[in-house]
């Protein structure tokens, strides 16, 4: 129950919503990135030869100079744990049944924020983390084709 509903002095209110349903396209970079993830189980990065920056996930263009990024490379499935958190409430503020581990795993000059599967007490910033992918037949071309990251044994 919200505070408003508990307060007998609260003004009368009704519920409404902003009905928004979207149909997104992957985009130029997304088409390539998610095809490689789905079909080949690869995480792709793109390097800007001018800046020397490797964007992961790969992008179509460099934000610094707006040049097209044509040099795409497989950056592997293992990155480095840049930071992590243990989440106890969901986004409506309700307690989670099981706390969830979320981490930022760095690749190149970027990285991927995703769920972690590990004993929280064993996690250390800087450790190697590996992407665990769904089996190929279950992959749909989504960031959830990566199930989670786990520490490299």
């Amino acid at each position: 129950m919200t505070l408003l509903e508990r307060d007998p002095q609260a003004p009368a209110a009704w519920r409404g919503n902003l009905p928004v349903t979207s149909r997104y396209t992957y985009g130029i970079a997304g088409e390539k990135f998610f095809r490689a993830l789905k079909d080949e189980g690869k995480i792709m990065g793109a390097e800007c030869p001018t800046c020397g920056i490797t964007y992961v996930p790969a992008r179509a263009f460099c934000e610094r100079g707006l040049s097209e990024l044509t040099e795409w490379t497989d950056v592997g499935l293992v990155g480095e744990l840049h930071t992590f958190t243990l989440v106890f409430v969901d986004y409506d503020g309700r307690p989670l049944y099981e706390p969830e581990l979320v981490g930022f795993v760095s690749f190149g000059d970027g990285g991927i924020v995703h769920k972690l599967e590990a004993d929280p007490d064993t996690l250390e910033i800087g450790m190697k983390m590996e992407a665990v992918l769904k089996p190929k037949t279950k992959r749909t071309g989504s960031i959830l084709d990566i199930q989670h990251f786990k520490p490299v044994k």
Binding site: L18, T21, G27, I28
Partner: protein
């Protein structure tokens, strides 16, 4: 205030559904604008971005989301938003960045990806109405425009077949535009009158199509502009004005929001007799009757008489005052904010003599572009000259 020039422009194709993300559409336009005047990101000192409601692109705070493609990285960057008026307000924001002396070179990008909204972008508009008095009736813009068009036609006794001439001329003009979605060289008044009725008196071909696209321009201070190009196009006047947000408290027959914005811009540009001093007009034309409405607000026709410019040929590409030589929203397409900025880009190309097949004859010296939006009560106007 310092003089401000447009020195470059870029524009993507306007399409029904783009593969590109909003970031990528913005990137294409921004890169083209840079290349058009041989600048790089290092030369850009600040960036102004525009899109209409976030609901279209399907990303809340679309300005922040699209900022990398919109040349925003590492720059003082801000999104402006006045609904449909955004595309012509955007360059006004850029203009005061430069006129004030704060920046010498500013990138302006406007983008819209309307195809994201499912099933049809029209439904996005229900989110802009008052939740207590209006939204329960499930209004959409077609309603409002049908009510306004009916009032306008009836007040002045204008025939629907004459209003249809606007749609025909704009769609025919767009046939020469390499970025156009709906250029139709052979469309006729009968085609418009025979198209599906959406909300009487509005029919399918009275309305511009939902589209995806982006446009960018680059503004520069006088000393930079003169160094970089022999053909700067000056922003001579800017104006913007808000009428009542209650459409039930507005004059539906005459757009005062355009009149006041236009007068502000004309005063700044030193224009006393707009009908003689404006050589090209790009009024906002999401609906055919709206172009007429706006021409009257821009003081380019007497009230109720704008349609005569189409009947007597004045508005034609080779007429005395071509209207929407670009093809307008009705012909090129209507990715909201991008469509407004397209009008600025069109004046830039026309005044430089670089409009290709669309070039109006007679070496025009001055043009006016206008857009309209917010809750249908904002007018934004820019006067450009060489």
């Amino acid at each position: 205030m310092r003089k401000v020039a447009v020195i470059g422009a870029g524009m993507t194709k306007f399409v029904r559904r783009a593969l590109e993300t909003p970031k990528e559409l913005s990137w294409h336009a921004a890169k083209m604008a840079l290349d058009s005047c041989e600048l790089t990101m290092d030369d850009i000192e600040a960036t102004c971005f525009g899109t209409a409601p976030d609901a279209f692109d399907g990303v809340h705070m679309n300005g922040e989301y699209a900022s990398d493609g919109a040349a925003g990285w590492g720059k003082p960057y801000m999104r402006s938003y006045v609904g449909g008026g955004t595309g012509v307000f955007n360059p006004i924001q850029g203009w005061y960045h430069v006129a004030s002396g704060m920046f010498d070179v500013v990138m302006i990008v406007a983008e819209e990806k309307m195809s994201s909204f499912y099933p049809h972008a029209q439904a996005a508009f229900v989110t802009i109405f008052d939740h207590t008095t209006e939204r329960a009736l499930k209004p959409n813009l077609l309603w409002i425009f049908a009510l306004e068009m009916n009032r306008y036609m009836t007040t002045y006794g204008i025939k629907k077949e004459d209003i249809a001439r606007v749609s025909v001329q704009h769609k025919r003009n767009a046939a020469g535009h390499p970025c156009a979605l709906l250029g139709e060289p052979n469309i006729t008044v009968e085609d418009v009158l025979n198209s599906e009725t959406l909300a009487w008196p509005v029919q399918r071909f009275d309305v511009s199509p939902v589209s995806d696209g982006a446009v960018a321009i680059i503004l520069a201070a006088e000393h930079v502009a003169k160094r970089l190009t022999s053909k700067p196009v000056w922003i001579e006047g800017v104006g913007w004005y808000l009428d009542s947000a209650y459409w039930t408290n507005r004059d539906l027959v005459y757009p005062r929001y355009v009149e006041y914005a236009a007068k502000m811009a004309y005063d700044m540009a030193g224009i006393k007799e707009p009908r003689k001093e404006i050589h090209i007009a790009e009024p906002y034309d999401p609906f055919d009757y709206k172009a007429l409405h706006h021409l009257e607000g821009l003081q380019l026709a007497d009230r109720g008489k704008a349609v005569e410019l189409y009947i007597n040929g004045t508005a034609a590409r080779d007429g005395n005052m071509p209207v929407c030589p670009s093809g307008g929203l009705l012909g090129v397409g209507n990715p909201i904010a991008a469509a407004g900025l397209m009008k600025i880009a069109e004046l830039f190309w026309q005044l430089r003599g670089e409009a290709g097949e669309r070039q109006v004859p007679g070496q025009p010296k001055r043009g006016v572009a206008q857009a309209w939006g917010d809750l249908m009560q904002v007018g934004t106007v820019v006067v450009m000259g060489r």
